[in-house]
């Protein structure tokens, strides 16, 4: 529906002409009337929710994100849909996670004909994604951000929690990329990223943000060593993540336990093996 809406230039969905014009261009609207502001705020929140859910769904099912997403959602700072407004992560990271899910989907199709290492294009795409994520981390000075820094404490206490959340998701994306390509082998290559995400998650200042971090908790938890697993068990079985009105979150810890068992049983455990266990999980 959203793709048809965009192709038809937002007509016939109940938006005013003024709102329609603003949506077709990167214009601000704080000086417009209340009706226009309300319409555009609704569209932004609605669009961001749909994009977020679509990407989460892609991660747990191993499918590419819906194609229409690219018409609304990009790393462009003027993009009307900004995921950081609802869940704290900047668009550029979620765009990369979307690319990784697409890479996985293409890898599985190509695997029917030849191994991943022989698919030059896919290997190149994987390298580009990693380079783009590292570039994004370096640009935002996020890669060196440490929980113990005074500056970090200041950021975590301010109304903008975007910096630490984006940092966590960016490192999670690097872990996820590794899992998609190598499965649960050669985990030493990502030990730094895992350590960084785990340290951020352990930071008391960020514990109230955990409801937005279900996906990083799951991805990072899946590669956790035995010594760290009790921490993930605690995070996923206590508030703020556990809420009586959100019973679906109990399934997330169950999924992790199943993955940990699989890693012990199988000498070579792949991401595909995990997807069979988590396709009914909602990482929200």
């Amino acid at each position: 529906m959203l793709q048809r809406v965009h192709e038809n230039k937002f007509v016939n969905i109940g938006l005013s002409e003024e709102s329609r014009v603003i949506l077709l261009s990167p214009k601000s609207f704080e000086n417009h009337g209340a009706e226009v502001r309300e319409e555009l705020m609704a569209f932004r929140a609605f669009g961001a929710s749909v994009v977020w859910l679509d990407i989460l769904f892609s991660v747990t099912t191993g499918t590419a994100p819906s194609q229409w997403i690219e018409t609304f959602f990009s790393s462009d700072p003027d993009c009307h849909i900004q995921l950081q407004d609802i869940m704290g992560c900047q668009n550029w990271v979620m765009v990369q996670i979307g690319r990784i899910t697409k890479l996985y989907s293409e890898k599985m199709q190509a695997a029917k004909l030849k191994p991943f290492d022989s698919c030059t294009e896919l290997v190149q795409t994987a390298q580009e994604i990693e380079k783009d994520i590292q570039h994004g981390l370096a640009q935002g000075a996020l890669s060196s951000m440490d929980c113990a820094d005074h500056a970090y404490a200041l950021v975590a206490r301010t109304s903008s929690r975007v910096v630490p959340i984006t940092c966590i998701y960016a490192h999670t994306a690097l872990i996820y990329l590794h899992l998609v390509i190598h499965g649960f082998t050669e985990l030493r290559q990502i030990s730094d990223f895992v350590s960084r995400v785990t340290t951020h998650l352990r930071c008391v200042l960020l514990s109230e943000l955990r409801p937005t971090l279900v996906m990083p908790i799951y991805i990072c938890g899946s590669v956790a060593e035995e010594s760290d697993r009790d921490f993930f068990r605690e995070v996923l079985s206590t508030p703020p993540l556990m809420d009586p009105a959100l019973p679906h979150r109990a399934r997330v810890l169950q999924g992790l336990e199943e993955i940990w068992i699989q890693r012990q049983i199988r000498p070579v455990c792949t991401w595909e093996d995990c997807l069979a266990l988590i396709s009914d999980i909602l990482l929200h």
Partner: protein, 129 residues
């Protein structure tokens, strides 16, 4: 108001729009102008309150909440079905109904009946003209 006070935060964890853009006032406006969304939100709110109050509510009270929740769900689905099968040109509530469907997706995770409904009614799930 329960939805705005408690449930909205669960669905959109960090959503706190600037007062310059009118804050979250648009949510109230949309609820008041879109009947199916209004009922979907009431169903969600009733469910949330019931789950939170489980340790303290009596069985009769909880049974009444279940009844109300299912009533709102039934009204909502009926209205969405009417909207999906009605004339689609110049329908000023289309966006509101789309938002309702999204709310139902959130509710779906918690109330299995929605999944069953969408599996049995593909035209509603596609919401196409």
């Amino acid at each position: 108001m329960h939805f705005l006070d408690s449930v909205c935060e669960l669905q959109l964890p960090l959503y706190n729009p600037d007062i310059m853009y009118g804050g979250r006032g648009w949510i109230l406006s949309m609820l008041l102008h879109t009947k199916p969304l209004y009922h979907a939100v009431l169903a969600m709110s009733t469910y949330h309150r019931r789950m939170v109050m489980v340790p303290r509510g009596t069985p009769e009270w909880q049974a009444e909440d279940v009844r109300r929740q299912e009533e709102h769900v039934a009204i909502c689905l009926d209205l969405v079905h009417q909207a999906a099968n009605g004339p689609c040109s110049n329908d000023s509530t289309r966006f509101g109904v789309a938002a309702c469907i999204l709310q139902l997706l959130f509710v779906d995770v918690r109330i299995p009946s929605f999944l069953t409904y969408f599996l049995l009614h593909p035209p509603v799930a596609e919401y196409s003209c």
